[in-house]
Symmetry: C2
Subunit: 402 residues, 2 copies
């Protein structure tokens, strides 16, 4: 078999495991007998179009693994259909040819799998000999055909840890209080559900959990809080998805319609902030909201060992699959056993995966404001294990592209 | 010497090291020959007034040390002057007598040192034989007469780490962007300054740092951002104190005066949110704000080993000082050597410390939007070392009061 080069790129929002997948792709490529140089394209498919391509075979893989966000940079570029704009495709495959690329690995989420699908179809139609493989990543865990996504377990561990720490903070005063933690996930509640992992025999927080899959009622929410107080819970902790919507389908975060900034422009608030005001106005107790924000997807100092190892393994498997001639596939996890937890890495035709969203199914949702034991069984293995992070001068060491 | 009991309590806002100080007080008390039982009062001085007192001598000190926030609970109770309301003092000392308390250790910030001062003066005036000692804590680092405060180093490490991770996240897209990180510290900029620790040879973020000690100008701020763009920095990261104020002395966070919520009430935003809107309106580039919020004071999973060990040591020293008859003092750190870093634990009359605030001095401030090398020299030793946290089922183990 002719030795060809491998090109890797990253796309979509950052995670703390996407660089572990890149490290896996590099390791898998270098270990394969079929791969010559391992290249990286900077800023995803845009780096291919702009020919911003560099040799990444010599990177320190251990440092790369512990660097959060996307080492190669990312993009949010949705390719046009090939028959609408053939020039884009011609340009991409021209660059592939110039670098003698036989294997292209795209690490990303939903939109990135759309790119993988389109490129693979184009190559097939034009009889271009290149293997194109997608490696999933997203903290949102909303990809079909995979048991879970690399990056999700670490975000879940960060969220569960942080919410349990916030619950400790909320307990210190005797005063009645409500603490609302807003968690990422515009359409899928997987991350918000992960807050439930912080509960234990001594800690019932978060007491209320609102997923975007369940219609949110302001009236019921205020009643839910009052019920917690009546049950004798003084410091109510609420986990709420940024994407909750009311009976009319309107995002709660879009509903602060009277709020204008000093320029007269609409002041967009998160769902947590809107609910904070609701509690202040309707109940009048001490209330605060905390938006966990981007640290959910970039807190590299606290990651799940299971997640990071799986992210590396699926990247390596992607490179190997490409090197053995597979194309138009997304690598995926299949859970072969729950206890003990065991996964197998498989591949699925990427066309069936792209542009779909896996939301939380009904059997994982308990009523209006909780998750089921089945959800916890599903989530628990994904946050197991801690990663030894290399520190220098008191801070985690990151790898920076020059 | 007669064996008497020791009573400890915690007060003010939580930190991730205040329980390490409590562990130190317990260890110091138990190791002293003069102390019988070690008690804890629940919710600070209010726990004394309400006689909510429990034996804490048997706690698992290792778990206690890694539990964030205040294990015993806290309060924000400012004692009246003894001549205005003698009944409060009579009640407190009645409870002390009932439990045969010879040593009272109060772990807290500014207001708590006021309590220590008042109780010690009262005891002296009434010739009551009880040693009353203050042990400092606050993430804000704003106490006088101590080189730094226990709890600050861990918060500084968390902030520097998180800002450096956010900077990685900000770099992934090619698009020009501004990321504003709002950091705690209403009057003192120590925590905001700590964001500068995340800089290194490969990373200049945060590019702009605004402390509450420096008058904040909206016009200059917009110009500062534009200058960064002109210098070729695409992804500008800004660290800003929640307490910045404009030329008129008004808090920036109070200035979104046109913002009303759905109830017609004023919508309070953080300084970061206000500046986000300013950038959106004046520059029009991609901009987001991130409020680090309470995790700054409760993220027990990421702490400075130096801070935690010092917090334990100063708690133990407080118990020992009390046991040897010192009273009316706050324990403090004196930095005896910078390189190698070395501190000594001393004590100072608490009356000189209470109700004062130590803000960042001019020699640590570099112009309008940076800190000096001297500030970094001061800060660096405080974040050194990592704490091995005990995890169970993927999450840090905390101690909970039943």
């Amino acid at each position: 078999m002719e030795v060809k080069n491998l090109l890797a790129a990253q796309s979509g929002g950052p995670t703390t495991a996407i660089n572990a997948s890149l490290a896996g792709v590099i390791a898998g490529g270098l270990q394969s007998g079929n791969v010559g140089t391992v290249y990286g394209a900077v800023h995803g498919i845009e780096g291919v179009l702009n020919e911003q391509i560099e040799d990444i075979g010599g990177l320190d893989l251990e440092l790369l693994k512990q660097t959060p966000a996307a080492y190669l940079g990312s993009c949010r570029n949705k390719l046009p259909e090939a028959d609408e704009d053939p020039a884009v495709y011609e340009r991409i495959f021209q660059v592939f040819a110039a670098y003698n690329i036989g294997y292209f690995i795209y690490i990303g989420g939903n939109d990135s799998m759309d790119t993988v699908s389109k490129l693979a179809m184009y190559a097939e139609r034009k009889h271009i000999d290149i293997a194109i493989i997608g490696v999933p990543k997203t903290i949102d865990n909303d990809l079909e055909f995979t048991d879970h996504t690399p990056g999700f377990g670490s975000a879940a561990k960060y969220i569960a840890t942080t919410v349990s720490e916030i619950a400790q903070d909320a307990r210190v005063y005797f005063l009645k209080s409500v603490t609302i933690v807003e968690i990422m996930g515009r359409h899928a509640g997987w991350l918000t559900a992960a807050a439930a992992l912080g509960r234990n025999a001594d800690n019932a927080a978060p007491h209320l959990i609102y997923l975007p899959e369940v219609v949110f009622s302001r009236t019921a929410f205020v009643r839910d809080i009052r019920e917690q107080f009546e049950k004798g819970i003084h410091n109510v902790v609420v986990a709420v998805s940024e994407g909750i919507r009311d009976e009319a389908g309107q995002f709660i975060c879009d509903s602060a319609s009277a709020a204008l900034d000093a320029f007269g422009h609409k002041m967009l608030s998160g769902a947590g902030k809107v609910l904070e005001h609701l509690v202040a106005n309707e109940i009048g107790c001490k209330v605060r909201s905390i938006e966990l924000n981007v640290p959910q997807r970039c807190a590299g100092h606290l990651r799940s060992k299971t997640d990071v190892e799986e992210a590396f393994a699926i990247g390596r498997a992607g490179a190997r699959a490409a090197a053995s001639g597979e194309t138009g596939k997304m690598m995926a996890f299949a859970r072969v056993s729950q206890k003990p937890y065991e996964i197998r890495i498989v591949s699925a035709p990427v066309g069936q995966i792209a542009n779909r969203e896996k939301t939380v199914p009904p059997e994982y949702i308990d009523g209006r404001h909780d998750v089921t034991a089945a959800m916890l069984d599903y989530l628990t293995p994904l946050i197991q294990g801690e990663v030894d992070v290399q520190f220098r001068d008191g801070l985690p060491v990151h790898l920076y592209r020059k």
